[in-house]
Symmetry: D2
Subunit: 289 residues, 4 copies
């Protein structure tokens, strides 16, 4: 398929490279142009408009503001480009997903929300878990792309915002797991057991899952650089979850604790470290530092 | 080995049966005597004192009060019985573990803390994960018993209380996972996605671990009976974790949220249901019921 | 002075009437025009633009959206009206106060933030506490108005947003007091002491202040209608406090608890009742209903 | 009246002196004997038993452990001394109040719970607020003592534990007010307004009550020494409130936040400072120190 790709951060580059490797034609654009260059098999184009056409366009941007700036303020939807489908793969707010659904409808361009779980290495290997919601026919038309990028595609019906809600719920669960590990480590450390020894047990028995193994390894050794998933991005996701929770009338006491802990972590200068650095908040509190 | 077994609840019966099956001689006692009877290969005895002797004695009681009542108020430590080692396998407080350590030392009876992870079916199958701390020689002498009951024994040094801290930390992580699932389900349900569909994704990808699969299945279907791990017992464990946390100077905001949620669940009549019923607190709040 | 008044809700009407009574000329406008009519001494005008001129203009609207809609989308700042000073008295976000400061500067119209503490009866009696920040000369020019409306004016320097931060902090403290009373009442009621008896003691001794007396009386009798300060508005203020807290890197665990409690109260249908109805959340939780 | 007084800490000395000044005969005992000496008009006695007789005995000890140690382990209730009434004025747990009620009943000595609000200067001046519950006739017999020590006596019926529940609820409200001030100050300070300026407004308007004035003054200037009400004692009271809350099935999210904040304050070395030092937890978090 002929695909435009907007947003060539670490995730985007991996996904675009994978698409090219699987035989798709990829035109890529990024605000800072260097990022769009040097990706094997991918052609860098000079404007977002050149990317916003073809069989499909994929957007993979950092947040609501970046996506709105390119798409809405950039006027892409009013331009000449009529992509067959727009796959919005960024982690954005539920509210923006709803607005995008409405304005795409007015513009006559099919919109599908398709945020992903997985780190850059999974993106390069085509092993993402893709959470999809939107018009069935549009999803069907994008199947070759979804199959190229994902280990599996998870379908959540026709309303795009649902995929975004699922993505935020997943990130909330992930950050909750980190906080739980952080408190648990501070707790056993207060009783003489290194967190590493606790997490070795847990992540090999009842919590034997990628989240606990990967983030647990970082917490066990207090190594948070380089970041896989940056703490500041995680704080953004919790903010989005709290907003969407409030909009749907859902109290979320764990999410509130996470919010406060992440703010504290950023005040301590850990915003650019890996999300797992949230665990240090609990350790510092215990140690009185 | 010749083993006394005190406390024949669902877990205790499974463990005692397993020991007998693996060739050990088991004398069992329970406060309500029926529970000690009818376990294949296990001999019921008429008093705790008759169980409290031999190569080793194992205690597996519901809580601090039950253990103190039998052991301390019951005067076992001052009696004629001199078991080779006392394996305390109940989930008890860190503070009681410290007191037990001191009074066993005075009595000259080796004490080892050995709480377990696993449900009754794992106990019967000898597949528990056993968390052990105590004098090395005593643990060595109990190895045949630990091997019979456990898939694996995890060692945490010579101070018994450390094993209890690890056990409480693990249960705290478990209940945190349930709360996170509960809030996440309420959240996606508020946006039109059944919790079951969220948990299907999560427990098969980044959270593919027994805790998320087992408790997730209960939450997905809102089925909390019969209980595997009773909610009221979970509330007790969080209370113990908060107490031991305070003693070690560890703030635990997640544990505090769990405490309040579990109290609310019990006020709604869910104390005897499975711990996973904690998830209903989040759902009820969203639905305004 | 010749004053325009935009926003004739319950507070606005009281304030406008007071200004007229004190000898000022008041031109009032409200989106739904009936509300601007029948206020003694106040002239209703047909458009916001007719109000937005003279010696000063006062805005007193429900929230950010209402103010932005009238002022920014309504194009008032680009119009012919050049009021001597704009007193923004609404409870709005810190972020909006900052944007307003910038756009007024560009438009060459002095902007002063002047939110208030006090209920409609205090507004009518000119007994408000007014929290003011902005250019000193502009505040000086508005002194006759501030003196007419307020028991006292509290000054917070030249940056308008500071007054808004103080207002949000005050409302946060107020709602925290309500939650504390709610939990305390549920607590003593759980031990057989009616909340009314607890609050009688507290609000006459160490907590002998208007907040505890007024809201305490509502909580003591569980009477939340008619609302003085609506719960939904309070939920908005906590949302604004959390946002401004995050922007300034301030974790606010009490505010997070309030957020969750207020969402739960609204899910129970208490959004249009008085803010004091937050106390019922604690009572319902205890009673398991 | 002829009164025994057990527990001559700062509060106890003030109360005993006041009783003597009002014409009562006071025999005082304290574990470390120096504290019982040099109080005008008060006779130091050499044992708790010598104090535990006469028309009435008053106990004013630091916590549950101190009271149980003197009263229960000390065997006072089984001794020859038969005081006309025992006024328990310490801040103790609801559970201990219930146990004391039962064991006094068995011993045939009337027991009245009578905890107080007020600092040592109020004790000396006879200006305490006394919270009383117990058998009506016993309270009546103690009226001269209560009148001597208190500005007012507040009655809560015949069950002693109710007075203790009210006292804990009051302290919970007090510490909640401190936390609210702490978060509010950190919040406005994050926006450029010193906490002192916020608290000046609040404690002179809608929060014009002793709690906000006194503790607010300490928070405004960050002066927490010498302590009036020690932080560690406050942490104890929150622990007691949480325990009694759990016993009565009352979730208390604010109390949970306080618990975690107080533990953090103690880890920072503020346990012996004034309770108001809790506010520094919020400030430190914002400032990333």
């Amino acid at each position: 398929m002929d695909v435009g790709f907007i947003g060539m951060g670490r995730m985007g580059r991996g996904m675009a490279a994978r698409l090219a490797q699987e035989g798709h034609t990829v035109r890529a654009w990024n605000r800072s142009p260097e990022a769009a260059q040097g990706v094997p098999g991918v052609t860098a184009v000079g404007s977002a408009a050149e990317a916003f056409r073809g069989d499909a366009v994929i957007t993979m941007l950092a947040d609501d503001a970046a996506l709105e700036s390119v798409l809405v303020q950039g006027g892409l939807l009013d331009g000449a480009g009529r992509p067959g489908v727009h796959l919005g793969m960024s982690t954005i707010s539920v509210a923006l997903a709803e607005r995008l659904t409405a304005i795409h409808e007015r513009a006559g361009i099919p919109y599908v929300s398709a945020p992903v779980f997985g780190r850059p290495d999974a993106a390069e290997a085509g092993k993402l878990n893709i959470v999809v919601a939107g018009p069935e026919a549009s999803i069907a038309s994008a199947t070759p792309l979804l199959d190229a990028m994902g280990a599996k595609t998870w379908r959540y019906g026709e309303k795009p915002k649902r995929a975004n809600a699922v993505k935020l719920a997943g990130n909330f669960m992930l950050i909750s797991a980190i906080e739980a590990m952080g408190e648990a480590c501070a707790f056993t450390e207060g009783h003489g057991v290194p967190g590493a020894e606790l997490l070795d047990l847990m992540s090999n028995t009842i919590f034997a899952a990628p989240v606990y193994k990967n983030y647990g390894a970082a917490i066990a050794t207090s190594r948070y650089e380089p970041p896989g998933f940056g703490l500041r991005l995680g704080a953004k996701d919790i903010r989005l979850a709290l907003q969407a929770g409030e909009a749907a009338g859902v109290p979320m006491p764990f999410a509130s604790v996470l919010r406060d802990g992440l703010i504290e972590a950023m005040a301590r200068g850990d915003g650019e470290k890996d999300l797992a650095a949230l665990a240090e908040v609990s350790r510092r509190r215990r140690e009185g530092r």
